[in-house]
């Protein structure tokens, strides 16, 4: 079952990458506000022209 020597580290590497993403994003304040982002996505962007065809 030497394949486990491969699969477990590979899975760990993936997990560690995500842990890294998580730590960096926490540090950068991504999760400081856990409410407004959910409301903000509901606002549609203001359209520049009514019919903007190309």
């Amino acid at each position: 079952m030497t394949i486990l020597l491969f699969l477990i580290p590979i899975s760990l590497v993936v997990a560690l990458c995500f842990l890294g993403f998580l730590l960096v994003s926490i540090k950068k304040g991504q999760f400081d506000d856990d409410y407004t982002p959910s409301v903000r996505i509901l606002f549609d962007d203001e359209k520049m022209t009514k019919t903007n065809k190309k």
């Binding site: 590497v13 993936v14 995500f18 950068k28 959910s38 996505i41």
Partner: protein, 719 residues
């Protein structure tokens, strides 16, 4: 584009214009619908073939074993795949308040992906397959997938980096998780040694190959069918309901918990097989844990609609979403339950699993896609939906379709499993003939096809509805909007991340270690693997050249789609098939052919069970040997001659992978092949069958007669 934005910047005073690319979203949406219909049509065809095998029209290219992978690949990678990209390209631009990084990359991504799908649709019916489930495509296509996936990732990350919105909405996290994990899974699982254009052998053998395959297979479900669609759910459900997600905090926990747990659950596909027990248990534990984040996410999705249920009554989009999320909840409850060993003992290899995946596929992926398209197309074309009535009709016929599909399959699964395991009072199998357990559930197969037909009918109604919607409006190819200029420019993020690393030596060290680890693994593992193929059972020998060719024909015809080669250690199985399968028996199997479904009986101990003539007649006309059988006939194998031009290359490749063929075997491989083939032809002649020894059927018979026999040598000797 950038210059344009800069020009506008001053005049707008704190605002800038952004032009969202809607054309690419439209393209992916069309591809979703087109491939959806194709994939489901193939699905309906294979479903009908299980009741009426003659529906393959006697052609090799339309036979179940070849087009069942076409169905799965088409619905997963073509239908859902394009659905993912449509959803990502639409939502990512709006969440990042910027156009996709590069229109050229978007176009390469789109056309590249469609070309891959076309390549799959051509090669699978022709019999070019690796046999590994959901990864059947051969190595040149695997490389193309890698390249296009990188293009997708490049385009996505560059868009994220140039975003004008500091916060990454949770949907984007799901997209990132999808990209990273699918890339790793695809690379690891596709390790194969090419022997020619369109033919390769898996680098891994037997139990190792099985573990890699299901590590991949399970995570394909997790990171292709689940995480991207959760991202889509977290964007489109709130948008369609015009309510914020029930709990944003829960959505973040949902993501991180899911991503850390999912990747360990793969071994639950191999319970009671030759996989070491502790690895099986590890898989079970993580699978059971998965219920927490899955249900957290499911409830989060449903509760988003709290106080908006009146809208659900009116709005077909929301109806589709509600059923989709409910199906997600059911499938993610059932999944952990199926991972329990005692439940799995009953469910594995039966139609129960087929029911389970279709609740997920038809319900979760299908309905979420339909809801998204009904919401998206009117917006892309600046109009409203052509007919709500037709959308409602689609909703109901689709829901009925799911029920008509799933219920008969559950019934069939329970029935067949109970019949397999039933013993008479005297201790004999109640249904010793496998065929009895098949004919018993034929009606269920017919009902399932009906369910599929209803579901497909709904999709066709949707297509009509969406075409008329598009015709009523006109495509807003580029949607110009006004967005605020962020205080902190987004391009600082890249620098900031790096500076963080540079300042912290420990982090730097860890990061370097991870990079080195990856490099080291890639170099060392192949050596490990080759060494581990030293047999643990002395009597297990490599396949002869003829048997190897026969094995490749078994792969080409996709026999593993209906026949397992894995006898579990239950009395009901050892009574029916023979001695249970052991890990040491598969050390030369590149790839493994354990299978995951028994539409027909297990074949691991088929060798020597019947005379050659039985196999000959059975392959020519299955009903002549097994009246009522739903196996198709394989007349072309009696006409085609064995391709012996590649025998030496195959032997050489196998040796490279650690199979101990004697020195110089390549040179005499075809001679040996001919000798063994003539023996079989002579044997058949003795039973009154005239056949030339160079036909494919001879190689197949040689392989089937070898299966599972090596271990008997020792057993008979010690008896």
């Amino acid at each position: 584009m950038l210059q344009e934005e800069l020009k506008n910047k001053d005049s707008l005073d704190g605002y800038t214009t952004v032009s969202y690319d809607n054309a690419i979203v439209r393209n992916f949406s069309i591809a979703t619908v087109v491939w959806g219909i194709v994939g489901m049509l193939v699905g309906l065809t294979v479903a009908c073939q299980l009741v009426w095998p003659e529906l393959n029209l006697g052609l090799e290219f339309t036979t179940f074993g070849r087009i069942r992978p076409l169905h799965t690949n088409a619905v997963i990678f073509a239908f859902v795949g394009n659905g993912i990209f449509a959803g990502v390209y639409y939502s990512l631009q709006r969440l990042c308040k910027t156009r996709m990084y590069s229109d050229a990359l978007s176009a390469i991504h789109f056309w590249g992906w469609q070309l891959i799908i076309v390549a799959a649709a051509i090669t699978l019916p022709l019999g070019y397959t690796t046999s590994k489930e959901y990864a059947e495509l051969e190595w040149p296509i695997d490389i193309a997938i890698t390249l296009i996936w990188v293009v997708f990732g490049w385009n996505m990350f560059a868009t994220i980096l140039k975003r004008k919105e500091k916060h990454l909405y949770v949907a984007i996290w799901f997209y990132i998780g999808t990209f990273v994990t699918v890339a790793v899974l695809h690379l690891v699982n596709s390790f194969e040694l090419p022997i020619s254009f369109m033919k390769s052998y898996s680098w891994y053998a037997g139990v190792q190959d099985a573990l890699v395959q299901w590590w991949y297979g399970h995570n394909a479900v997790a990171f292709f069918l689940t995480t991207p669609y959760l991202g889509i759910m977290y964007y489109f459900v709130p948008k369609a309901a015009n309510r914020p997600v029930f709990s944003y905090r829960l959505s973040i926990i949902h993501f991180w918990a899911l991503i850390f747990i999912y990747i360990w659950a793969g071994p639950h596909h191999l319970l009671y097989t030759s996989l070491p027990d502790w690895a099986q248990s590890l898989g079970v534990v993580f699978s059971v844990m998965l219920i927490a984040p899955s249900w957290g996410g499911m409830l989060n999705g449903l509760l988003t609609l709290r106080g908006a249920w009146d809208k659900v009554r009116e709005e077909p989009v929301l109806k589709f979403f509600v059923v989709a999320i409910t199906a997600y909840g059911m499938a993610t409850f059932e999944g952990p339950m199926l991972s329990l060993k005692n439940v799995n003992a009953i469910a594995h290899f039966t139609d129960w699993i087929v029911a389970h995946v279709h609740v997920g596929g038809l319900g979760w992926n299908g309905f979420l896609t339909f809801g998204m398209l009904y919401w998206l197309i009117p917006r892309l074309y600046n109009t409203s939906l052509f007919s709500k009535k037709l959308a409602n009709f689609h909703f109901w016929i689709g829901t009925l379709g799911i029920l008509f599909y799933a219920l008969p399959m559950y019934w069939a699964g329970f029935t067949q499993s109970l019949m397999w395991k039933e013993f008479t009072a005297d201790g004999f199998l109640a249904y010793p003939n496998f065929l009895e357990t098949v004919t018993q559930i034929k009606t269920m197969y017919a009902l399932r096809a009906l369910g599929g037909a209803l579901y497909l009918a709904g999709v066709i109604v949707m297509t009509y509805n969406l075409i008329l919607t598009a015709k009523a409006g006109s495509l807003v190819a580029n949607e110009d909007v006004k967005v605020a200029v962020p205080v902190e420019h987004a391009s600082h993020t890249g620098e900031h991340w790096h500076r963080w690393l540079e300042r912290k030596p420990t982090q730097m060290l860890i990061a370097s270690l991870v990079v080195i680890l990856i490099g080291g693994l890639v170099e060392m593992i192949p050596t490990f693997l080759v060494k581990s193929n030293v047999p643990t059972i002395a009597s297990v020998k490599p396949y002869t050249s003829l048997e190897l060719q026969g094995r490749d024909l078994y792969i080409k015809e996709g026999c593993n789609n209906c026949h397992s080669q894995m006898i579990r250690p239950f009395r009901s199985e050892t009574e029916r098939y023979g001695e249970y399968s052991k890990a040491g028996e598969f050390v030369y199997d590149h790839p493994h052919l354990w299978g995951s479904k028994r539409t027909g009986p297990d074949l691991h101990r088929i060798g020597g069970k019947y005379p050659d003539s039985w196999h000959y007649n059975h392959m020519l006309d299955p009903e002549s040997m097994s009246p009522g059988s739903i196996m198709p006939a394989y007349p072309w194998m009696f006409k085609n001659t064995i391709d012996t031009t590649n025998t030496a290359a195959k032997i050489a490749a196998m040796r490279k992978l650690g199979v101990p063929y004697p020195e110089g075997y390549e040179a005499i491989a075809n001679q040996e092949l001919k000798k063994q083939a003539e023996e079989i032809a002579a044997n058949l002649k003795a039973s009154g069958i005239e056949v030339k020894s160079d036909k494919e059927i001879i190689a197949l018979i040689a392989y089937l007669q070898r299966l599972g026999k090596d271990i008997n040598v020792t057993q008979e000797a010690t008896k």
